[in-house]
C-alpha cells in the first residue's frame, strides 16, 4: 500500500481529515524547500504537494505564477525538485508526497526516465494540471511500473459521464477544484462544494480532496466537514512572497497558518 493510501486509512480510523499543503519547489530559493517541507509536516501536514516551476503556468493565478518565476530565477528544474524530494526522504520515510506541475518538463525528459527518477527520489504520486485522463495513458503506464500514483482533477464543470471516467482512472485521492478559476481565486461556496462532492462520492471510494479558495482555519474547517482532505496552496505561497529573503520568518509564519488549520479542522470533525 502506498504512503498516500496508508495515510488516508490511518486518518479514517481516527475520524480526522487530511491536510495537504502546497509549495513550489525552489521558492524562494532551492536551498529552502526541504527545510520548508519538514516545517509543514511538523505543523500538522499529512501529505505534501510540491510544485515544479513552469514558465507558462496557464492554470495558476498571479501568486503561483510569481512563485514559478522566483524558482526559475534560480533555474530550478524537474530534476532539482526530485532531488529535493530525495533529500527530504533521508529524514522522513512516511509522509506522502505528490508532485504537481505541467506536462512539458516531463515530455522533454521522456516518460520512462521521469518515472525512474520519481521512484529513485521516493516520490509517491504525480498530478499534472494539463493532462486529462484522455491524454495520460502512456505516462501512467510508465509510472505504474514503479507504483507511482496519478492524481486527477475534477471541476465544478465536469459533467457526470466524465466524472465517472475520471473516478475510474483515479489513484491516491481525487483533487476537486472548488471554484471555476485559477489558483488563488476568490472564496469557495461551501454548499456548492458539498453537493458536488456528494455527486462524486456516489461514483468512487477514493478520498476526495478539495483545493482552491482555502486560505485560513475557518475555511479549512468548513471544507474538512464535507471532504476527506483540505489542500492549501496560495495562502502559503503568499507567505513565502512576503518574506522572500528571510527563511526563518517564512517557517514561522507558515507553521502558524498550518497549525491553525490543523487545529480548526480537528475541532470541526
Amino acid at each position: 500500500m502506498s504512503r498516500i493510501d496508508r495515510c488516508f486509512e490511518a486518518l479514517k480510523e481516527t475520524g480526522k481529515k487530511a491536510l495537504i499543503p502546497y509549495i513550489t519547489g525552489g521558492d524562494p530559493k532551492p536551498g529552502a524547500t526541504v527545510e520548508l517541507m519538514h516545517t509543514l509536516v511538523e505543523a500538522g501536514a499529512d501529505i505534501l504537494e510540491i510544485g515544479v516551476p513552469f514558465s507558462d503556468p496557464m492554470a495558476d493565478g498571479p501568486v503561483i505564477q510569481l512563485a514559478c518565476e522566483r524558482a526559475l530565477a534560480h533555474n530550478t528544474s524537474m530534476r532539482d525538485v526530485l532531488a529535493m524530494v530525495k533529500t527530504f526522504r533521508e529524514t522522513n520515510a512516511d509522509t506522502g508526497i505528490a508532485l504537481m506541475g505541467y506536462l512539458n518538463p516531463i515530455e522533454v525528459m521522456g516518460y520512462e526516465v521521469f518515472a525512474k527518477l520519481c521512484d529513485d527520489s521516493g516520490l509517491d504520486a504525480v498530478l499534472i494540471v494539463d493532462m486529462p485522463p484522455e491524454e495520460s495513458a502512456d505516462l501512467t503506464a510508465a509510472l505504474k511500473v514503479y507504483n507511482i500514483q496519478t492524481i486527477y482533477l475534477l471541476a465544478p464543470t465536469t459533467p457526470d459521464a466524465r466524472a465517472t471516467t475520471i473516478c475510474d482512472h483515479g489513484e491516491g485521492y481525487l483533487y476537486y477544484v472548488s471554484v471555476k478559476g485559477v489558483t488563488g481565486s476568490a472564496a469557495l461556496d461551501i454548499d456548492d462544494v458539498k453537493s458536488n462532492l456528494a455527486r462524486i462520492r456516489s461514483k468512487t471510494d477514493l478520498p476526495l480532496a478539495v483545493g482552491f479558495g482555502i486560505k485560513d482555519g475557518p475555511t479549512a474547517a468548513a471544507v474538512a466537514q464535507v471532504a476527506d482532505a483540505v489542500i492549501v496552496g496560495s495562502a502559503l505561497v503568499n507567505c513565502i512572497a512576503r518574506n522572500q529573503d528571510n527563511v526563518p520568518a517564512i517557517k514561522k509564519e507558515m507553521s502558524e497558518i498550518v497549525s491553525q488549520m490543523r487545529t480548526a479542522m480537528d475541532a470541526a470533525v
Binding site: D56, N75, R79, M109, M131, E135, A155, T157, G181
Partner: protein
C-alpha cells in the same frame, strides 16, 4: 508512401494529427471543449450555418480576395511567375477575419454574450473586436505589454471598436503570455464566455476549426489559379507564427503532390542563435497551450522567449497540423530573418505599390528567393496574409525616423 487523402481527414476524433495536437488543458475547460467540438460538428454540416458564413465572407469581408499577378516583382526577381493571394484586402486588413467570422457565428449559436481573444500583432484582436461590434458581443482582448507598445495603432483600433484591451505583463509579455492570460480568464468565466482563438493551435477542436475557416484561402487560390493560368501553382509560400494563414493556404492542396509548399518561420537575428521564433526549424516536440507540437524550449522543458521583428510571428509554438506535415515531409519549413523580411517589405512596397505586413514580408522574402531558382513558366503563389499599415511605426523606428 503516405496516403495523403488520409492526411486530409485528420485530426482524429480526439484531435490528434499523428502524435501532435490533442487536448492538454485543466479539467475545468474539458467540458467546454467537448461542447464546442459537438457544436462545430453539428453546425459544419448544417447548410444554414454554412450559408451564413459564406454570405458574411462575401458581403462583409469582401471575398473572394484577388489572386494578383505581381508582374513587376516577377520581372525584378527573374524566375517563376509570382502571384500574391491578397488577404491584405480583406476587411480589417488580414486573413484573421476569415476565422473570427466563423468563430463569432459559433459564439452566437452558443448564446454566450462575451468573447475573448489573444493577440500578438493585434490583427486577430482587431478582427475579433470587429465581429464582436457587429454582433453586439462584449469583447476582451489579451495582449502582451511589449506588443501593445509596438502595435499601438491596432490597440487604438480595438478600443474604438468597443473592445477592452488587457495588458499582460507576465513572462515575456508577448503572444504566448497573452494566450496564458486568455486561458486563465476563460477558466474563470467559461459559463458565459466564448474564446475565439486566433491561430491554428490550442486544444482540440481549435486547430481543426481554425483550419477549416481559413481554408477558404487555399480553395479560392486553387480555383483562381486554374481560371487565370489553366493549372495549379507549382509552389505555395506562407509565413508561420501559429500558422493559421499557412494552413488555410496549404490544406486544400495537401493531396496535390505536384504542388510544393513552403512555410516560412521568423528567423529573427538568425537561426544560429536563440533570437528567433522558428520552432519547426529549430525546436522539438512538447506540450504548450493545450496541444503537443514543436516548441522552442530549453533542456528543462521551460518555454523560451522568442524574437521576431513582427509581433504576429513572435510565438514559441506552432499549430499541431504543421508539426505533422513537417514530420511526413509534405511541407518544407524554412525561415526568413528580420533583415530579409524588412528588405522584402520595402521591395514589394516600391515595386508593386503593395505594403505587406511584417509577418507576410517573411513569406515575400522567401518567395522571392525561391522564385529566382525556378523556371519562368512556373507559378509561385505567396500568401499575402496582411497589410503593413500597422507596422509603419516599427519600420520607421528601425530607420531612425520618428513619425
Amino acid at each position: 508512401m503516405i496516403d495523403l487523402k488520409a492526411v486530409t481527414q485528420l485530426p482524429t476524433e480526439s484531435g490528434h494529427f499523428g502524435p501532435y495536437g490533442g487536448r492538454f488543458v485543466s479539467e475545468t475547460l474539458m467540458s467546454a471543449l467537448d461542447d464546442l467540438s459537438e457544436l462545430y460538428e453539428r453546425l459544419s454540416k448544417d447548410p444554414a450555418f454554412q450559408k451564413e458564413y459564406d454570405e458574411d465572407l462575401a458581403h462583409y469581408v469582401g471575398r473572394p480576395s484577388p489572386l494578383y499577378f505581381a508582374e513587376r516583382l516577377t520581372e525584378k526577381v527573374g524566375g517563376a511567375k509570382i502571384y500574391l493571394k491578397r488577404e491584405d484586402l480583406n476587411h480589417t486588413g488580414a486573413h484573421k477575419v476569415n476565422n473570427t467570422i466563423g468563430q463569432a457565428l459559433l459564439a452566437k449559436y452558443t448564446g454566450k454574450p462575451n468573447v475573448i481573444a489573444e493577440t500578438g500583432a493585434g490583427q486577430h484582436g482587431v478582427a475579433t473586436a470587429t465581429v464582436a461590434a457587429r454582433l453586439g458581443l462584449k469583447c476582451t482582448v489579451f495582449m502582451g505589454a511589449t506588443d501593445i507598445e509596438r502595435q499601438k495603432l491596432n490597440v487604438y483600433r480595438m478600443r474604438l471598436l468597443g473592445a477592452e484591451v488587457v495588458s499582460v505583463d507576465s513572462g515575456t509579455a508577448t503572444l504566448k503570455d497573452a494566450m496564458n492570460e486568455a486561458m486563465r480568464h476563460w477558466v474563470t468565466n467559461v459559463d458565459d464566455t466564448f474564446y475565439i482563438i486566433g491561430t491554428a493551435a490550442g486544444p482540440h477542436p481549435y486547430p481543426k476549426l481554425v483550419r477549416d475557416f481559413q481554408s477558404i484561402i487555399g480553395r479560392e487560390t486553387k480555383r483562381q489559379s486554374v481560371l487565370q493560368e489553366g493549372r495549379l501553382p507549382d509552389a505555395l509560400v506562407a509565413c508561420i507564427g501559429g500558422g493559421s494563414n499557412a494552413i488555410g493556404m496549404f490544406y486544400p492542396f495537401i493531396e496535390d503532390e505536384a504542388v510544393a509548399m513552403y512555410g516560412v518561420e521568423a528567423g529573427g537575428r538568425g537561426l544560429d542563435g536563440d533570437d528567433h521564433a522558428a520552432p519547426l526549424c529549430k525546436g522539438k516536440p512538447g506540450v504548450l497551450h493545450g496541444n503537443r507540437t514543436y516548441l522552442m524550449e530549453d533542456e528543462n522543458g521551460q518555454i523560451m522567449g522568442t524574437h521576431s521583428v513582427s509581433a504576429g510571428l513572435d510565438y514559441p509554438g506552432v499549430g499541431p497540423e504543421h508539426s505533422y506535415l513537417k514530420d511526413i515531409g509534405r511541407v518544407n519549413y524554412v525561415a526568413a530573418t528580420d533583415d530579409e523580411a524588412l528588405a522584402a517589405f520595402h521591395t514589394l512596397t516600391e515595386v508593386e505599390g503593395i505594403m505587406p505586413a511584417l509577418e507576410s514580408s517573411h513569406a515575400v522574402a522567401y518567395g522571392m528567393k525561391l522564385a529566382a531558382t525556378m523556371d519562368k513558366d512556373q507559378i509561385l503563389v505567396i500568401n499575402l496574409s496582411g497589410r503593413g499599415d500597422k507596422d509603419i511605426h516599427t519600420v520607421a523606428g528601425l530607420a531612425g525616423i520618428e513619425i
